[in-house]
């Protein structure tokens, strides 16, 4: 029987309590011999996209960057748009894990595990693009301060170098945080394992965790410290990505609000991806009692708030472009809205500013399918935001004689679409084999855990 046919709370084991039901509900997903049919369909589709992705990347490595549409003046085309897009998506996971933890928002426990997983897979997808777009992807070690035959060092004064460190640190810390969070849940899987392979595999990664309170004490402290470190880290990573643009003198790029604007935009797009994943996941994996409508509603509110911050930044850029009196700056903004890329600009505005306003209506923000739809719309809008910033500003900068119109090649489009294949492949594998929900945390904040007897 597929997992989606079983409502875990309809027929609980005799005498099962809340904790056991949480364990069962979540562990079943990884333990069932065959995943739900929806998983197979999604995985198949993801594989197709993945093959397309690897094919396009292989083609570019074989023939060169000319296979993409990058040209002068738009020397940064789809690859960098995709890079910023994927890194941005990753930020929601860290926000949910770390920032919401610091703010004691305990509702995060239902979604933080797969949001963190999403972060890591998004960073994997993101990291491929700068690695590829350097032209000789077999030489990325030049970006690291490794002694080499030329006795040369990386250029630390460049934001592109800061990116290397920021994204590497972010990937490392996210993986550490995600792994540490999973140790108690791996122990659960280990103790429920019915085959030796499962027991040994989960046992190794569980490191012999047995739930000792003395260990929990150190663990909780480590969790708090990592959350406190991850919070400024997530702010810094997308800020460093924004520095790639803001340190330049290009109109439309050189503006001081970029760092918090990019971070807010990243959280905005990231949460949109989280809800895009959460709605089907809770439907097909039977997690509706854990990821509830209230969780969706709260996430939609975060989407609204960050969307408004992004809108504020759009407004500020616009105002200061006028206020500065810099004719290139004024032109850039008029060009964005009414120039050859106007279609991209208005897509961005409607997806990022207009559609999320629907969440003011309670019926919309408590409806899972509306949530999913608006989440996908926001993701499209955020991709277009990066496209507008990068391609529009580059295609028409200071000298009219340098202007050019960027057109993506089919390889560009296949690489973008295919990157979703990599993302979903990893994510679906995660759902299948790893603890999808932070069981220990959900238990810790469930009502049964808080009975204060004789405090």
């Amino acid at each position: 029987m597929a997992i989606s046919d079983v409502n875990p709370y309809e027929a609980p084991p005799a005498g099962a309590n809340m904790f056991a039901r949480i364990t069962d509900n979540v562990s079943r997903i990884a333990e069932t011999p065959t995943p739900p049919r929806a998983w197979y369909i999604a995985f198949g589709f993801a594989q197709l996209l993945l093959v397309m992705f690897l094919g396009s990347l292989g083609w570019v490595i074989w023939t060169g960057i000319g296979a993409w549409g990058n040209m002068m003046p738009v020397a940064w085309g789809f690859p960098i748009v995709n890079f910023v897009f994927w890194i941005g998506i990753g930020h929601a996971g860290t926000l949910i894990s770390a920032v919401l933890f610091l703010f004691r928002q305990n509702w995060r426990t239902a979604i933080n595990r797969f949001a963190e997983a999403m972060t890591i897979f998004a960073v994997v997808c993101a990291g491929i693009f700068p690695g590829m777009h350097i032209g000789r992807p077999w030489m990325p070690y030049y970006m690291f301060p490794i002694p080499n035959q030329m006795d040369m060092w990386p250029q630390f004064r460049s934001p592109l170098e800061w990116d290397v460190f920021a994204v590497s640190t972010y990937a490392t810390v996210s993986i550490l945080f995600w792994y540490m969070g999973m140790i108690p849940d791996f122990a659960t899987f280990r103790d429920r394992a019915t085959t030796t392979v499962r027991r040994v595999a989960y046992g190794i990664v569980a490191m012999g965790w047995r739930g000792s309170s003395r260990q929990w004490h150190v663990y909780e402290r480590a969790y708090l410290i990592l959350a406190a470190l991850a919070t400024p880290l997530v702010l810094s990573v997308h800020s460093v990505v924004s520095f790639d643009f803001a340190t330049a003198q290009l109109p439309g790029w050189h503006t001081t609000i970029f760092p918090p604007y990019f971070v807010a935009g990243a959280i905005f797009g990231g949460f949109a991806m989280v809800v895009t994943l959460a709605v089907p996941a809770r439907q097909f994996f039977g997690l509706k009692r854990i990821i509830t409508i209230r969780h969706l509603e709260l996430m939609n509110k975060v989407i609204m708030a960050t969307g408004l911050i992004v809108g504020y930044a759009y407004g500020m850029e616009f105002f200061v472009a006028y206020y500065s009196g810099n004719k290139y700056e004024v032109f850039t903004f008029v060009n964005r809205a009414f120039g050859p890329y106007g279609w991209a600009y208005w897509t961005m505005i409607s997806c990022n500013v207009l559609f999320p306003q629907l969440h003011w209506i309670p019926k919309v923000r408590t409806n899972p399918w509306a949530t999913l739809l608006i989440g996908m719309i926001v993701n499209v809008g955020m991709w277009f935001e990066r496209f507008v910033i990068i391609c529009t500003s580059l295609s028409r900068d200071f000298l009219p004689s340098s202007w050019g119109y960027f057109i993506p090649t089919p390889i560009d489009l296949m690489t973008l679409g295919g990157s979703f294949g990599l993302f979903f492949t990893l994510f679906l594998l995660f759902c299948r084999y790893l603890p999808m929900v932070a069981m220990a945390e959900v238990k810790a904040f469930s009502p049964a855990a808080h009975a204060h007897g004789d405090h």
């Binding site: 309590n17 904790f19 056991a20 364990t23 490595i61 074989w62 077999w138 301060p145 035959q149 006795d151 060092w153 250029q155 630390f156 004064r157 460049s158 800061w162 460190f165 640190t169 490392t172 810390v173 550490l176 945080f177 540490m180 108690p184 122990a187 659960t188 103790d191 429920r192 490191m207 012999g208 965790w209 047995r210 739930g211 000792s212 309170s213 003395r214 260990q215 929990w216 004490h217 150190v218 663990y219 402290r221 480590a222 410290i225 990592l226 470190l229 880290l233 810094s236 800020s239 460093v240 069981m439 220990a440 945390e441 238990k443 810790a444 049964a448 855990a449 009975a451 007897g453 004789d454």
Partner: protein, 410 residues
């Protein structure tokens, strides 16, 4: 009673490791923990599926020192970032790029922050594992079947036999008074092998040796020489569909891809048919007059002075007598191979036609190289005008000066 297996091969029952009590809810374990703590036990612990709020207080667990590890690591990360960026960009190989100072503190801040966080985070996780004695592959509690529910929904408390206050009977009574759901004796682990399986040891050795191989290969490639060209997988930039110098081209009779200029071809605007201006020739002889393109005025003289100062003074000196810096240096080296630059104020050069002077500057004479590539045609004529002035300055008389300037000579 006990679920523990009988030990293999060893005589007698296994010694007792401790007493384990099982509870169903957080308030129960909190209550039990308080009691055990009040009873003065020191070697005991509780085991829970999640961190129970308030258990630290109930058990008297002291605040961990982990934050200090993090702080130290963070400071080390910060220092590393500052040192790295300073040493590589400002000390070891400073090079001018992006117009920023070699040691640009504002530009170094992002990486300073990132390395601080990176080292802190890694240390926090590793520190947590170390302080928790993880990985901890085997434990006597693994032999207790009911203990598997500790990661599910049950709460346990164990007092170890090594505690000074432990007594099999009294401690059991104490645990019973905490209303435990079940109490079990835990025996020492005699089942699990103490030594690592041989296969695992060999496997680890093989992996360790194998992991050195790539580095060894890289070191070999780095420090040895090889006559064959390196392996070059991606060939796409190697054979570009275009013609380069020295390539063959069967289209032409001589088979070369480079073609010579067609005779008489001249670039637009480049015909240079004014022999007087471009060659200093007047028919077959050197011209004695300046070409009409050259305005003989102060501006040209000044231009000539400036150009002379740039191109000619190193050898010929400031007044053209051949005492330039290069000449002086060659004299001081006294190697015997130096032919001194001409003194341009000599009589025969004063008589030399300007066209011949022009030819010397353009194409060189004796040891002097030709300057046609460096000095524009107009400028060469301006230099000649200035040279004439220098020659005049060395050979003139008082009557050459205007009357009001003569007074200064007195």
């Amino acid at each position: 009673m006990s679920d523990a297996k009988k030990p293999k091969g060893k005589p007698g029952p296994a010694p007792v490791h401790g007493l384990l009590a099982e509870y169903d809810t957080p308030p129960e374990i909190l209550h039990a923990a308080r009691k055990i703590r009040e009873a003065g036990f020191t070697k005991w612990d509780t085991y829970t599926p999640f961190a129970v709020h308030g258990i630290d207080d109930a058990m008297g667990i002291k605040m961990t020192i982990l934050p200090w590890f993090t702080l130290c690591a963070g400071l080390i990360g910060l220092a590393t970032a500052i040192t790295l960026q300073w040493w590589t960009n400002a000390f070891d190989y400073p090079w001018i790029v992006s117009g920023k100072p070699f040691w640009s503190i504002p530009a170094n801040v992002p990486i300073m922050f990132e390395l601080t966080v990176l080292l802190s985070a890694i240390t926090t996780l590793v520190g947590m594992l170390m302080l928790n004695n993880l990985p901890h592959p085997s434990h006597p509690l693994d032999q207790v079947r009911r203990f598997a529910r500790v990661t599910d929904d049950k709460f346990f408390l164990m007092i170890e036999a090594s505690d000074p206050k432990f007594d099999e009977v009294e401690t059991r009574e104490l645990l019973e008074s905490t209303h435990a759901h079940a109490i079990e004796t835990v025996l020492e682990d005699r089942v699990t092998e103490e030594k690592m399986p041989a296969g695992l040891v060999y496997g680890l050795i093989i992996v360790a040796v194998a992991s050195v191989v790539p580095f060894a290969l890289a070191a070999k490639a780095r420090y040895t020489k090889n006559a064959t060209p390196r392996i070059h997988l991606i060939q796409d930039m190697d054979s570009q569909p275009k013609y380069k110098a020295q390539r063959a081209n069967s289209f032409f009779a001589d088979g070369h891809a480079d073609r010579p200029e067609i005779d008489g071809t001249v670039a637009v605007g480049d015909s240079r048919d004014d022999d007087k201006f471009y060659k200093g020739k007047d028919g077959d002889t050197w011209t004695r007059t300046f070409p009409s393109q050259i305005a003989l005025n102060d501006a040209t003289m000044e231009r000539g002075r400036q150009r002379f100062g740039i191109y000619c003074t190193p050898c010929h000196g400031q007044v053209g007598v051949g005492d330039g810096m290069v000449a002086k240096r060659a004299d001081s080296l006294a190697q015997g191979t130096w032919i001194p630059p001409t003194n341009m104020t000599q009589e025969y050069l004063r008589q030399m036609p300007v066209g011949e002077l022009f030819n010397s500057i353009s194409n060189g004479v004796r040891n002097m190289p030709g300057y046609a590539a460096q000095i524009k045609t107009e400028d060469r004529w301006a230099i000649i005008m200035y040279v004439r002035a220098l020659q005049r300055s060395r050979s003139g008389s008082v009557t050459d000066l205007p009357p009001d300037a003569r007074a200064s000579l007195k």
